[in-house]
Each structure stands twice: as C-alpha cells, then as structure tokens.
Amino acid sequence: MKPKRTHILVCTGTGCVSAGAFDIMEALKTEIKKHELQDEIAVVPTGCNGFCENGPLVLFEPEGIFYRRLKVQDIPFLVEEHCLKGRPVPSLMYTPPKEKSPIPAMKDIEFFKHQKLVVLRNRGRIDPERIEDYIAFDGYMGLAKALEMSPEEIIEEVKVSGLRGRGGAGFPTGTKWQVCRDQPSTPKYLVCNADEGDPGAFMDRSVLEADPHAIIEGMIIGARAIGAEQGFIYVRTEYPLAVQRIKKAIQQAEENGLLGEGILGSDLKFTLSVVQGAGAFVCGEESALMQSIMGKVGRPKQRPPFPAQKGLWGKPTNINNVETWANIPQIILNGGEWLAGLGTENSKGTKIFSLVGKVNNTGLVEVPMGIKIREIVYGIGGGILGGRKFKAVQTGGPSGGCLPESMLDMPIDYESLKSVGSMMGSGGLIVMDDKTCMVDVARYFTDFLAHESCGKCFTCRKGLERMLEILTNICDGKGKEGDVELLEELAIMVKEASMCALGQTAGNPVLSTIRYFRDEYDAHIRERRCPAGFCKALITYSILEDKCVGCGACARACPVDAISGEKKQVHKIDADKCIKCGACAEVCKFDAIDKS
C-alpha cells in the first residue's frame, strides 16, 4: 500500500459529533477527492480528544497542527491551503482566551500539555472501529504477555501497580480479583460497569468510544486471572455511539480469535456480551446492576455477601469500572511498578476527570493522581469563564461534595477528598463561579438523588424527599430558623441508615455546602437574600435612576411588558408584572439594572 503523506484525524466523540464532526469528515473527503489527493491524504475518525468545548476538532499529522470549531464552509479553503499548498490556516487554529496569536500545534496547547495519558493514550490517535489501529499501538500485547503468565502472577502485577477502583470507591483491584479467584464456586463472571449516570460526567463514554478494545483486552486478562469464562459490559442506552463501537469491537475480537474458545491459540475461553441499561442512576451501584443484568428490577441488595462471593446467579462475580479495566493491559505490558511510579503514595496512576461548569476549557482530562485542583481548573481548564471569581468545585458527581476556594491547593486523591467531605466518585468536576447559589446547588443534587432513589430504604426514600422540601423552601424565601440543623440531622440519618452507596453518600451535597457555605444558607433564611443573585424568589429587579439613559432596550427585551418609560427618560419596572427572567439586565449597556 502506498504510504500517505498526511493523516487528518477527525474527532468523532459524542461532543464533536453533535457539533457536526461527521459532516466535517464528509466535507474533507469530498474536497480531498476534488483535488485528487485521496491517495496521499487519509481522513481518519478517532475517539474523543477531550477538548469538547472547541469541537469539531481536527488534527493534521505529521505536522501536529490542530484546527477547532470547524464549519463545513471552512473545509474547501482549509483543504486547498493546508493540503494542496502546504500553508496552515491560522484563523482556524485555537487561540487561548485573552491572547492574540493562535497556537498551531496541539502539543503546545495548555489544555493538552499538562495531561498524562494512560487510559486515554489512544484517544485522537486511532480509529476506534479498526482493530488494526489498536494493534498497531501495542494493542492485545498485554494479553499476549498475560497468556505467558500464571493467574497468580497477573494478580500480583495488578496488586503491585496499586490500582484502585476507578468507579469511585477506590477498592484495591488486585485484592478484589484475588477474593473472586479464591472462591471455590464456578462458573465465575466478569462485569464492566459502564453505567455512568452522573450529570456532567462522560469519562466512561469517552473510553468506550475512543478505545473500546482496551476494555475488552483488560477483561480478557481479568478472565485469565480470575478464571471466568463469561463477561458482561453493562452500558446505558443513552450512549448510542458507545454501544455501537463496543459491539463492533467485540465482533472484531471474536472474528480474530481474541474472544471465544482458544484465545490466541491458548486454552483460554471467554465470551463477552453487551447489556444495555435503561438509565437508572441506581443501576450504577453494583448489586443493583447485577439485578438488572439478570432481568430483574434494578434495586440494590444487602452486602455481604459481596459480588465476589455471590454475584450474578449466585456465582462469584468481579465487577470493575470501565476506566479500571482499561488500565489493565498497560499494567501487564509495562509492569505494575510502572503504574505505581505515577500518582501519590496511596492513589496510584492517573484519573480521568470530566471538567465542566463555569470554566473556559470544558472537556475531558487525564491527569496523574495527586494533582492540585488549582492546576486542573486554572492550568488545564484555563480559568473561570468570563474572568469571574471561583466559588466552588463539586467533585464526585451528585453525591460528592462542594469544595471552596481554600481547598484549591489540595492534592486530588481518594483519601484527601474523603477527608474534606467529598469523594473521588467516578471523576466529575463541576466548577462554579460567584453567580452560583450554593443552596440551589444542594437543592439541585438532592432533587436528582430523590428522583433516582430506588425507594427500598425508608431513610433514603423519605429522608431525601424531606430534605428537598426544606431546600426548596429556603430557595423560595420560606426558610425558617432551625432548617439548617434539621437538614444536617436528616442528611446524617440518610447516610447512616441507608443500605447502598446512593443513600450512604446522598447527604454529601447538603453537608458539604453547609460546612463550607453556611453563610449563604443564613442569608437566605435570615435576610431573605440570595448572595449569588440566583434564587428568583429572593431577588427584585429595579432600574437605577442615575444610570438609566432611557434608551428603551430593556423595555423591548422584556417578554411581559413590565418596563415602561418615555424615550430618554428614566424607565421603571412594574414589580407585579416582572417574572424575574433577567432579560433586561442582559441587554442593558449602562449597568442600570439592579438585582438585589
């Protein structure tokens, strides 16, 4: 085959696809054909690059030039300039906020510079739908090595690596495998937990979409170590592209003798199937997930017995998260010591975070454990959107906690997050600025959890409902003295008396916001004031007489005609008609709208 001189790598993760990546890819192919360059230039779809804020993303190799926010109409010019005439196009490159000149090379961009890719090593580099691309970058070589090792040696290697469960709880993976291997009962099952339900989290989806074979390889190695012959990947139906790619990858692995009987000519036998979940948050909890796989209602069960003892159909079952499985091939290939060299004393390796909220560069980042929150928010994330003030960061998804500015220099690892009332969770990081009301944040997450509670435990079912009621009252300006204490009492009760992890962590949003932002609760209750100016019931809009020039922009923007006034005269807002939508404040060029 004639070698190509350029590979155009088009990000086709869900983020870029919704921004039109497939159209961009087609346009690139059409233009390249038009210039008869199809034999010299390849267009390759890849998994998520992580820089979702700037999608659709395209990378030209070997030059490493990175184009972002492309539109179909940009493509003819781009192809003619870059591919035909060899002139990169600066206007389509990434320019950091507050800077003037673009950064042409991907490796020089701040967002990518500080990341350490282990699990996501193939993102943006391989076509996830081609097994050859995966193999080209040492894919299935970890498995080849594992087949020459004894199961005990494999488990020992995982133990040495210090890998802990990336689903959030952080249980040592090697120990988990050992327990399951030591069970006398057979058959044994493996499960990959890809039921990622946290709002704003998309780590697992991205791995499934960018590098599905890494998960399959990890599971085959696990099968050899644990002695399982059947595995399931439990993924939510809301991830259609991820489902499609993992299914295709399984099919390719089967066709190539990497799944089924006699894997790679050895006596290893392992089959893998995909089970689609219906999107219940509680099904991410392992015992509920197993119920769901068996076709029952997804409700958690009492532990012990743990899945490793009695899991699917009463047989020993080993459940790991997507990210955990995807770490395995690398650990076997490079040795446990290699992973143990990354991270902190108790938390080894890297962690993927989905960085969202009020931050400039939202997206997916993989960083070594122990990195400071500040480095993620200000270094990789490029600081707070619109130059506003940082207020808090929510870690660990809906049942994590909100950490204030004073925690920005805390290293991120399992223990330190837990010690300050939050958790690692699956790795969501939601950044909040000074316009975010912390009571409303607690209300939002409690609302989510109350909805998603399966209802089996009374404390979780009713406790969350009552907590939501109190929080809604506070946001509506109907809070009373003693509400905060009652909330704390309820939150602790829900934590202590619920059976599964959903209930046991459901108090975190309330407890952590009370712990660090008590003054905001007090302002709502005692002064009937929302310091962030967010809770509608607690704010009134008025026009500042000394600033209003009478341009009438606000009156035109008001959807309910609540603003009146003569031309060039000070306008007025009718408080009875005002629905507090804030449209007037957005259009006013003179800062004449007061919100208090």
Partner: protein
C-alpha cells in the same frame, strides 16, 4: 477472518505501524516537498508522487513525507527539505526525477546529504 496466534498479532502490529507512524511524529527521515503555487507549477506534485512511490517500493516504515508552502524562492522550485534523524535539515532545489532518485538513495535511505543539489542547510519555520 482467521483466528490469530501471538505471532500473527506481532505481524499485524508491525504492518499496521507503518500506516499509523505519521500520527506519532517520530521517524528516521522527514521529507518536506514545497507545494506552493510556484512549486506545483514547477512539478512538485510529480516529485511528491515519486517520493511516495519510492517509499512504497522500498517498503520503508520510518520515512515521513509531508508538504509545506512556498519558501519564497520560486525560481528554484521544485524544492524539498530532507531531515535525517538528529541532523540538520537540508534544502534541495531545482529538482527533477533523476535528482530526486539520487537524493532518495543517498540522503533519505543512508543519511548522506547530496551537496551538489543542495541550496544549503536549514529550513524555514512551518508556521
């Protein structure tokens, strides 16, 4: 498709590496053909085609071929720059099929520059 054995896996890896090498940014030699309007008019497309054919013929896995714009010396087109591992880039001018064949043989394959066709040592910046 046939069931793979470990040795097949290694074979596929080595074969596929060639196609994905470009995405790594590392290679023994990097050839840049100048493809500005002037270069194309003077025959840069044919030069590019010839290089790619030679790379294919020799089954090379570690040579990267890429393009760049006009270097500002339009009267000396077609031009190309050859960068052999750890050595300074050399710019060749007034190329034709015969010269390219010789440069390929000496510089790209064996790392010995061909001074009689060279303009000098160095390269303009890519962007």
């Amino acid at each position: 498709m046939a069931k793979l054995k470990i040795q097949d896996l290694k074979r596929i890896r080595d074969e596929s590496r060639r196609t994905v090498l470009l995405r790594e940014g590392t290679a023994k030699a990097k050839v840049t053909v100048h493809m500005g309007t002037c270069g194309i008019a003077a025959g840069a497309r044919e030069i590019m085609d010839q290089i790619l054919r030679l790379v294919e013929k020799h089954n090379l896995q570690d040579v990267m071929v890429t393009s760049s714009g006009c270097a500002g010396m339009c009267s000396h087109e077609p031009m190309m720059t050859v960068e052999y591992r750890y050595t300074a880039p050399v710019k060749y001018i007034d190329l034709n099929e015969e010269k390219v064949a010789k440069i390929f043989e000496k510089h790209i394959l064996n790392g010995e520059p061909v001074p009689e066709y060279a303009l000098g040592v160095g390269s303009e910046s890519m962007y």
